[in-house]
Amino acid sequence: MDDRTEKLLADLLARRLSGAPTEDPGLPTEALRESEALERLARRMGQAGRATPPAAFMTRARGRLLHAIEATQPARPRPGGLPMRPRPLWAIPLVSMLVVGLAGTAGVTYATAAALPGDILFPAKAAVEQVALDLAPGPSARADLSLAITERRLSEGEQLASHGRWAQAGLALEAASGALDRSVKLLEGVQEARALDLLTGRLAGLLPRVEGAVALARGAPSTQMKGAAEMLTASGMRASEAGKHLGPQHKFDFPLSNGNNLPHPDKPKHTTRGEDSPTSSKDKGHGSQPTRTPKKPTGAPK
């Protein structure tokens, strides 16, 4: 294609995409056909990229960012204003009650949807999720929703950890562990082959993220996070084992399941010696026994 033709086609495409009127540039039909195909491709990209931040996120985005910024810097006078004072503890429930009382149903719905584990409104959010699960129209929709909730808990844990809110992050990851276990159980009830294929593929895609969250939790300076790491590891192992049966066509890699990196979740006090785990000495006796009974991983240290 010579420079002149390329420039004419580039201008034609730009005009079409901008909705401007176009004239016949007198180019060969083949070149015009290609230009049309490129226009369709550009529109596909626009369609695929179309997204707006959820209203609940937008509502509190500014406040959250400013809170995070203020948390990262020492208190200092704001331009044109008085210095920020630390919020007294009694103010938190009081403000929440006022919010609930004054905001009305829509406001509370937004606040609830954006609540994070450890927030006062988080139990309400969990209850809404439970209702959505109960009302899901079938096993595959229920499993899909449960996987989505698992992803959400992982995101919340990562987000809280990035702000150094370790205790809340630990709660989020413990909840992610429970959600992952529930997802596997629900997946076992899916009968329709196509849906099972899609959902097991999604579960397989989730495991590297679980692994990342375990690594994050293990490296955190928090006993709660280390406990959450154990629970999440056990859940990841169970999901990996179940996934291999439910969707053998997918790759269910969960490297932690070889047992070389973590103490056995059932025997944290007796398996730390001689292991590679960088947290083994700190983990000793933190007492965060998982409430469930995880299966023994293949190749676990004796």
């Binding site: 995409l17 491709l41 990209m45 707006t52 993220r209």
Partner: protein
């Protein structure tokens, strides 16, 4: 496609200067003004709604930390934020070792499971093919079609003429189409 030439955001110059000088409240306003465009880019790259929200927040926190390095005359603000967002996405994939992120929005009905999977697959294919293009081609297509910036805005952000942007756009779309066809042929 009129929407492609809609300005993504109108920023008050004085407010921008205050935000970059360290005024937290003005930075909050900047955040809200630029968030939809940056969110669209991140969401396109990672697919997952909740993750996109986290990375958008990370982007602006990093921007806050790096605000003293921003030079108003050299780069428009959206182009600068785009670079930070792009690095945040790359860092995320590097640390989480994820290859595919899936949309965590809740399906309303059983049939939505498949529709959502197909939509995700289309987005993932386009994003992956886009990443294989050269830097300028990838940036032009991302700014034009994902961030919905006009030719004039892209030209200003990349320091090129509009004519040059139109030609780059044409060439990059041809390459993208070829990449996608190669992928289909495998």
């Amino acid at each position: 496609m009129q929407v492609l030439d809609t300005p993504p955001t109108a920023l008050d110059d004085a407010a921008l200067r205050r935000a970059l000088a360290g005024d937290v409240q003005a930075f909050g306003d900047l955040y809200l003004a630029c968030l939809p465009v940056i969110f669209r880019y991140i969401r396109f790259r990672v697919g997952d709604q909740a993750l996109a929200q986290d990375l958008a927040e990370t982007t602006f926190l990093r921007a806050w930390e790096a605000r003293r390095r921003f030079r108003p005359g050299a780069t428009p603000i959206l182009g600068w934020l785009y670079r930070i967002a792009r690095n945040a996405v790359i860092d995320h994939y590097r640390t989480a070792r994820q290859t595919v992120a899936l949309d965590s929005s809740m399906p309303a009905r059983e049939v939505d499971v498949q529709a959502k999977a197909e939509e995700n697959e289309e987005r993932r294919r386009l994003a992956a093919a886009l990443e294989q293009l050269d830097d300028v081609g990838r940036d032009v297509l991302t700014m034009r079609f994902v961030m919905e910036m006009s030719h004039a805005q892209v030209a200003a952000h990349l320091g090129r003429s509009q004519e040059s942007i139109r030609v780059i756009q044409f060439r990059a779309l041809r390459k993208l189409r070829a990449r996608l066809q190669e992928g289909d042929g495998r």
